[in-house]
Symmetry: C2
Subunit: 238 residues, 2 copies
DNA sequence: GGAATAGTGTCTATTAGACACTATTTG
DNA sequence: CAAATAGTGTCTAATAGACACTATTCC
């Protein structure tokens, strides 16, 4: 700010994606195996550098989502999580990463159109436990993103982003149980979701037939983004 | 990701600060008048470019806090708000800004050691109303930051960051009223803050004497960062 | 005592959690 | 019918908001 000809240092900007979904009733994240040098062979969040100086951050996130996971950004929830830019996080030099959180419904197993050497879904608990070490500071990003999801489903319609277009109340309950990692009473859950104004809208399709038991009514996401009253966890946060 | 010699485009990284405080029982933000070319003469959030490639983002925020506002980062609350990096936000080229939210207690009026041409406190409501146009996308940053503060004081001890080292319950109530922009019943507020475990700790100093009325007991911030049960706004969000 | 602000108690409508019960499907 | 899952109702303890009251200071 003082020298006449001083120029700010340029940095490289990356975008990393924490893509969460529900599989086998567990919260899982998409990881790719790194095929190039820093942390080669390690699992990491999908992501990459900004393509060119004219690309917007959100646009870059959508592009990576398409390239690395074969997912269409228009169909899923995508929000910025934060910036991770400590000077020593990348051995190649000064790389600042903008992390995005994406939520997607259950998908067919093979990830189509994937750029990366190998992409697979991993349980968030296993990663948090340290069973699957991640490259860079991606474990921090994952922890922050899971925290964000855990708290946002209390007061927003975020949980519906884990479900398909049409879903049942027990399915939605599974989302809450998987994200919170705690059981939920179905009777009280019922009352709460129906009390939350604008969370649910009736679907026009007729219920799917299960193998056994009474078929559940189908709903679709309602118009609300924030819900009131909120659906609070019974147990206090750890 | 395909061409052998492709290099990611470098970008310039800026750090912008939304510094909030309470003055005249109103929520106010520190603004500086821009002395250089893009948006010259307009009010903007204090901030600047990363000094060198080895400077951490948090460190840059602390440095700007010191240089532009004369504030010591150790003494106040500082958290990352988000990244603002649309390609067209700065006419000079590709500048990505990391926004930080800082909360500080009431300060003596003249901002010491300020780098900027002119720094002054402005009411957040006036800015939001558009009475004071801001440079770049700083109005967005301000709106996001105020939203963040409004919701975080419900479930964290953030409100105490607006108070001095020792404060009274009525002072803390003023913080809630100013941040929410809505009156709060003092009797119920009392009950709530005292029920919130770890929010308050008794101060050892004796109460200050007001000009009139009974002196209020002094407290200091307790050990809790998240508070339970939360102190919720009565009225629903707009 | 009167004015002003701090702090406590109480009453009531609402809510959250626990859990019994009824409903609808398949076999 | 039994088994399985969906959905409703009810009881009770805790809570939130409204507001009356008591306490402590200065004049």
């Amino acid at each position: 700010m003082n020298a006449e000809q001083w120029q700010p240092p340029p940095v490289l900007l990356a975008v990393d994606l924490l893509i969460l979904t529900l599989r086998d009733s567990r919260l899982q994240a998409l990881l790719v195996e790194r095929g190039v040098d820093p942390f080669i062979g390690r699992m990491a969040l999908p992501g990459g550098f900004l393509r060119d100086a004219g690309e917007g951050l959100g646009a870059a996130a959508e592009r990576e989502l398409r390239e690395e996971a074969g997912l269409d950004a228009g169909a899923l929830h995508l929000e910025q999580l934060g910036v991770y830019g400590e000077p020593d996080r990348d051995p190649r030099g000064r790389v600042v990463s903008v992390a995005y959180l994406a939520i997607t419904p259950r998908l067919p197993d093979p990830i189509a159109g994937s750029d990366a050497a190998e992409a697979r879904w991993c349980s968030v608990d296993e990663i948090a436990r340290g069973d699957i070490p991640l490259a860079f500071d991606h474990a921090d990003i994952l922890a922050d993103g899971v925290d964000r999801a855990r708290s946002k489903i209390e007061s927003t319609a975020l949980a519906t982003a884990f479900c398909g277009d049409e879903f049942t109340i027990p399915e939605l309950q599974q989302v809450y149980e998987a994200v919170w990692g705690a059981p939920v009473d179905p009777r009280n859950f019922y009352r709460k979701v129906k009390a939350a104004a604008g969370l649910l809208a009736p679907a026009d399709t007729s219920p799917r037939k299960p193998e056994t038991g009474r078929p559940a009514r189908l709903y679709r996401a309602g118009p609300a983004t924030v819900i009131h009253p909120p659906i609070l966890r019974s147990v206090a946060l750890a």
